[in-house]
């Protein structure tokens, strides 16, 4: 399998620091080999004549150059070790199998409401999140089950949350669209698109604050913000790109461009559909990567996360990916062209990684099948656990509204309302 970087695109402003080699490899415009499917616009080749004067902090470097410099060996070297490969494989299989199980459970009436499944996009979650430490943070959207799983939230906790049981990661109070874990630093789970990006920016701000104000010199926590193509037309996205670049916050903005926002094609909604180009406008590198290939995503992620850890600021990464299912389980998914779906189904990230592992003798069919089986058993256990878990009792209703329950106020009898036994029973009227 070819090296991961051939199809990576960059938005580069070659006013300084661009080495001559990068000019031999200008921006790769989508060709028939890796088409930006659905695009009806003629995409112009970006020439090297742009001469914008900008602060040096906005300089963009070509990631491919860095990677090339790191691996000078003439023979194509592998991008992962066996151990890493198996970790990636298992994580993607977990994500896929979990989402398939969700669909089953939904149609059996075990969960309700809006459930948004991640099938097809596993490479993005695995490629990025498996590089993080525990103290790094992940902020996601309503399509957050797999982000939580990749970050380390147990499948049992996520499944229970979806079933609305009290053993869920949010005690059943959040649901599919609000996966939180303080232990694993998963900061949501947000139902409205775009509203998680400022929260992610705040988490990155805390990291910088801890380093510079609280003098915790080794604090280099990075935050990843995941969101979709539709969000990239939202004001909060741009406001946060500005602030993150302005203050060099340790954050990576990961766009999961699956080309569709429910039924709205990215091209019908966006004046310039190349989202990665919007990074340099704010003074940060913009990178486009094939989001169906976990190894390519991982290489880009390594660099972006390292950049943030070094204190050089944010990166905008656009991952071209696709969701195999509809927007949610309620979406009939009639608008998308079957040819488009077939095209991306052929680029299934799990199949691709499996092929890579076998072809490069990192693993064998049997070992991978064993992982598949292990995941199946894990999920059976998760469903069983969720099934047997209790529903939240009435007494849980009024807990957690306030961190300090004095916030419910003082009642007519002079006591704080939270001291009223009806509060601990959940029957008081607030």
């Amino acid at each position: 399998m070819a090296s991961a970087f051939s199809a990576t695109k960059f938005a580069a402003h070659p006013f300084n620091t661009i080495s001559p080699t990068s000019q031999n490899k200008p921006l790769k415009i989508p060709t028939a080999a890796s088409p930006f499917l659905g695009s009806t616009r003629k995409l112009l080749r970006l020439t090297s004549q742009l001469n914008l004067s900008r602060r040096s902090s906005g300089s963009v470097f070509a990631v491919s150059d860095v990677v090339k410099e790191k691996k000078p060996t003439p023979t194509p070297s592998l991008l992962i070790t066996k151990g890493e490969g198996l970790v990636l494989y298992e994580d993607m299989v977990l994500g896929r199998a979990f989402e398939d199980m969700c669909a089953q459970m939904y149609y059996r009436g075990k969960m309700f409401g809006f459930v948004h499944l991640y099938n097809g996009q596993e490479a993005v979650s695995t490629g990025f999140i498996k590089l993080l430490k525990q103290q790094d943070s992940v902020v996601s959207t309503y399509r957050d089950h797999v982000h939580a799983l990749s970050k380390g939230v147990p499948a049992r906790a996520v499944m229970s949350e979806l079933f609305g049981k009290t053993t869920g990661c949010c005690r059943g109070q959040g649901g599919s669209m609000h996966m939180f874990s303080s232990e694993h630093n998963v900061i949501g789970g947000f139902a409205f698109i775009g509203e998680g990006i400022p929260v992610a920016t705040g988490a990155a701000f805390t990291s910088k604050y801890k380093r510079e104000v609280l003098k915790e010199a080794d604090c280099d926590h990075v935050t990843l913000a995941f969101f979709g193509d539709g969000t990239c037309n939202n004001g909060q996205f741009y406001e946060c790109l500005n602030m993150a670049a302005l203050w060099k916050l340790p954050i990576v903005f990961v766009v999961e461009n699956n080309l569709w926002a429910i039924g709205m094609s990215h091209l019908r909604a966006t004046s310039d559909p190349e989202i990665y180009k919007k990074g340099p406008a704010f003074g940060m590198p913009g990178v486009h990567v094939d989001g169906m290939d976990v190894l390519k995503v991982r290489e880009v992620a390594k660099e972006a996360i390292a950049r943030a850890r070094r204190g050089e600021g944010p990166t905008l990464v656009e991952c071209e990916t696709y969701r195999f299912r509809g927007h949610s389980l309620a979406d009939p998914d009639e608008l998308r062209d079957p040819a488009e779906k077939a095209h991306y189904a052929a680029r299934d990230p799990i199949a691709a990684l499996k092929k890579y592992l076998i072809e490069n003798n990192l693993s064998g069919e049997a070992e991978l099948k064993a992982i598949d089986k292990k995941i199946d058993e894990l999920l059976e256990d998760a469903v069983e656990f969720a099934d047997e878990s209790p529903l939240p009792p009435r007494s849980q209703l009024l807990e957690n509204v306030f961190a300090d329950p004095k916030g419910f106020g003082i009642g007519p009898d002079g006591r704080y309302r939270c001291e009223d036994p009806k509060f601990t029973e959940g029957t008081a009227h607030v």
Partner: protein, 411 residues
């Protein structure tokens, strides 16, 4: 030790009330001759609105104390000139806010400020003046003009361990941050199952000013009051401004602190020692027997001016500054209703859906049996605040209307 109206500058003019209307909220504190034995571990004094002093927030101790003073300074004492020998120090309300904020920033390095022009400019109402020089640009952060995003950033920072104070340059601008305030600030503690706390303070000036126009004269408290999971308080004197600011910063809950554009230059003498004001409590401004007047923020001064007239006419109004807009202090309010049996609410919100509307419902629900007359609620007109001075005056409740209302209520 009187609170005087210190009209300085054209931008923030004095209130429409006459300068001689002063009252002695300072006397609500215990006499300084009483010594304060400091309990081991207690580093602050909580001075309650009924005059009691506690070293902890034990609610049972609250009910033991009686009201000490009549807050209307008809028996007014010292003029400001002779106050140099008295304890405490005199300052303006915006300085009191700054003092509270600075003390909390000194006390806890996680407290930080974010907002437009809070740093180098010192705050558009000077509340943060000097703080950026002292604490640095990261702790007193000048943000770009992106309310939704920097409020969300404050929320994210609060969830990950900081204690931000977000300033809205005018409360009206926080309409742009409604998404973050409602969905994230109010709800995330609950939807995360209690995993993340959001100890954020959102503050700023609101209310009807001096011909600032419709959009700069909004009362956001009526829009925010339905959001679950937040607390709202309104300050009205330098004393409670500093106390509420400190209490809000120390609280683990998200608190929205409403200041008023016209009150920033009020002068008062406040204690030197550390104190906070309880976030959930109302303040007894003037005890009385005939009618309970519930008010907050700037309308407190209109009410007190009307009270002077009413006293001359033989009425004895009890004036309570509710301070806590969400939740309401039903204990203080209830005790008053049980005593006077008549309630008048005077607020600056619009008639529809304002704090007064909620308060009317709450009092009716809880104390219906004690009422001798229907609750009267005086609010601003449901009108975008006009620019013209005369029209603006007629949208807001004026003291004469309050006098008429009390006379009607007590008939």
């Amino acid at each position: 030790m009187a609170t005087s109206f210190h009209g300085v500058g054209a931008a923030v003019a004095a209130l429409s009330s006459s300068p001689s209307n002063s009252f002695d909220s300072k006397k609500l504190l215990c006499s300084p001759r009483r010594s304060f034995p400091v309990r081991k571990g207690a580093s602050f004094v909580v001075a309650r609105s009924d005059g009691s002093v506690n070293f902890d927030l034990n609610p049972k101790a609250r009910r033991a104390q009686q009201l000490i003073v009549n807050a209307v300074a008809t028996k007014s004492d010292s003029s400001p000139a002779s106050s140099s020998s008295k304890p405490g120090h005199e300052l303006l309300l915006f300085e009191a806010l700054r003092e509270g904020l600075e003390e909390e920033m000194d006390r806890d390095p996680r407290v930080c400020v974010m907002g437009e022009d809070v740093g180098h400019y010192g705050g558009s109402y000077k509340v943060t003046r000097g703080l950026a020089e002292k604490f640095g640009d990261l702790r007193v952060l000048d943000t770009p003009i992106a309310e939704n995003s920097f409020t969300g950033m404050g929320i994210g920072a609060a969830m990950t361990g900081l204690r931000p104070v977000v300033e809205g340059m005018n409360m009206g601008f926080l309409l742009l941050a409604f998404n973050q305030i409602s969905n994230n600030c109010g709800m995330l503690h609950y939807t995360s199952g209690g995993q993340f706390t959001i100890p954020i303070v959102i503050r700023g000036p609101g209310g009807v000013g001096r011909q600032l126009g419709a959009e700069h004269s909004q009362r956001l408290e009526s829009y925010f009051q339905s959001i679950p999971g937040i607390q709202m308080v309104a300050c009205s004197t330098p004393y409670n401004a500093k106390g509420l600011m400190k209490a809000a910063i120390r609280s683990e809950n998200p608190v929205i602190l409403f200041e008023h554009v016209l009150l920033y230059n009020l002068k008062e003498r406040i204690p030197d020692e550390d104190y906070i004001c309880n976030l959930e409590e109302a303040e007894m401004v003037r005890p009385g027997e005939h009618v309970t007047i519930l008010t907050y923020s700037r309308m407190r001064y209109h009410v007190m001016q009307a009270a002077k007239t009413l006293v001359n006419k033989g009425y004895d109004p009890e004036v309570i500054d509710i301070r806590s807009l969400k939740p309401f202090d039903l204990h203080t309010i209830g005790n008053s209703v049980k005593k006077t049996h008549r309630v008048l609410i005077v607020e600056e919100c619009m008639r529809t859906g304002g704090i007064g509307a909620s308060l009317t419902a709450a009092v009716t629900e809880n104390f219906h049996d004690y009422l001798d007359a229907p609750i009267m609620c005086l609010s601003s007109q449901d009108v975008p605040t006009p620019y013209a001075g005369t029209l603006e005056e007629w949208t807001v409740v004026q003291p004469a209307q309050i006098v008429t209302a009390v006379e009607q209520l007590c008939k």
